[in-house]
Symmetry: C2
Subunit: 258 residues, 2 copies
């Protein structure tokens, strides 16, 4: 965050439940915190410009690339992928592919975004699958958790790869040298949990990776800042994320997590 050289982000303005109404004010929030970011904004210019003109300093660092095609949130990922050419999501991903942007941001159809990004950008060598990560605000600092739903079925090796991804993310996000990584499980004893979780524990306790292995953590550790990174499969991770959101909403207006 201390680097002030310009970074260009490809931004799909049409994603999410409210499209540009939410995404343009969102971009402005990012812009205020990170003035070095340049925005390539993909989507319907007739909807984007009226909103963008309200944020003059954001407008000054943004370039709008018009398209009236978009992926809808209820499109099936496979169908969305086939008909994706010229959509705001795909064009934003292609801006990363051709080197115009360093990263892509979209709050659109998650399955389509994962599938398209995997096909067009491809995972890093040694990483077989992308994962969805989020930052949980904890009592004593943020915890990064992944996967939150991209991969329902994973094996031990996938979890180890998620540990690598999460540790690298934590280094950048928390600005720490050696993040601690825990595996989400149903107990702290070695003998507990499903095969893929125990298998990942065995590998992580032996290999070098960009962090250190803490051991098993449980659901109640997610908000307690016990580790910097929590690794899980997309099944348990998605259920934990949505349970946390639901309990948060019922107990207090826990709006930070949405």
């Amino acid at each position: 965050m201390s680097d002030t050289s310009p970074i260009t982000i490809a931004f799909d303005a049409m994603g999410g439940d409210y499209g540009p109404q939410s995404t343009i004010p969102g971009a402005h929030m990012v812009h205020k915190k990170n003035p070095n970011i340049r925005f390539m904004i993909f989507g319907d210019q007739n909807k984007i410009y009226p909103l963008l003109s309200r944020y003059k300093s954001l407008e000054a660092v943004s370039k709008v690339i018009h398209t009236d095609k978009m992926i809808y949130s209820d499109d099936r990922p496979s169908a969305a992928l086939r008909a994706s050419k010229g959509t705001s999501m795909r064009m934003a991903i292609e801006a990363v592919q051709n080197g115009e942007a360093r990263a892509v941001v979209s709050s659109g159809n998650t399955g389509a975004l994962m599938a398209m990004a995997k096909m067009i950008l491809k995972p890093l060598p040694g990483i077989h699958r992308p994962a969805i990560a989020s930052v949980f605000p904890g009592t004593k600092g943020d915890t990064i958790m992944l996967d939150l739903g991209a991969n329902v079925l994973v094996d031990a090796e996938n979890l180890v790869q998620f540990a690598v991804l999460g540790a690298v993310f934590a280094k950048a996000h928390k600005n720490i040298a050696n993040p601690s990584v825990g595996l989400l499980n149903v107990g702290s004893e070695d003998t507990k949990g499903p095969d893929h979780v125990r298998g990942a524990a065995e590998i992580l306790s032996k290999v070098d990776f960009p962090g250190h292995y803490h051991g098993f953590v449980e659901g109640n550790d997610i908000m307690e800042s016990v580790v910097d990174v929590i690794v899980t499969d997309g099944y348990a991770g998605n259920i934990a994320l949505k349970t946390a959101e639901g309990v948060g909403r019922v107990t207090t207006g826990f709006s930070r997590m949405r």
Copy 2:
């Protein structure tokens, strides 16, 4: 709850982190709400009597069966099972086996309790595995969720059996004729989720059971009283339970769930 004929409960006083200090006041709370319950209290009489004597009306409906043997919370279930003879937990379970009590209550070592109960009392015909259930207080009424950790790996058939158990529990607990049963999953679409969850959905949508099948529910539905019963495996269920506890504890003192 409207039935006032006496019911005898076998009560393991030695379980939990604090033993009789917590379990005897707990029994008193049950007694005040349910004066028709008779207690068979198993455990160390030297620890039980001084506490029990503070609650004269509980004492009047209780019989203490002394033993100074107990199962510890860090005993392995298999080892606990072998050395269980004469422990307060086992004696309480045997009171149900020999017909002296209608149910057994213990807050001791969960794995040992499940293993011992399965071996001594055996599941009902057609039910292959016991499950851990709990009642989640929701915005518009209680939701019963199971399994919360007894069975990490289950198949579709196990989940269907848990649906039957949960529906019967809901009928009694909520005093309703036709409880709604949802399967915890990572999305509401038919194509989502792991095989055992989709397989259970297929069976539950076809068979007659003591409730009706609602469809998939997600983590955020747990506290929203969307269904009367939520069925899941012990892996996702335990993670959801502990996540809910953790978020509840962090956001407000959500002590009802402990």
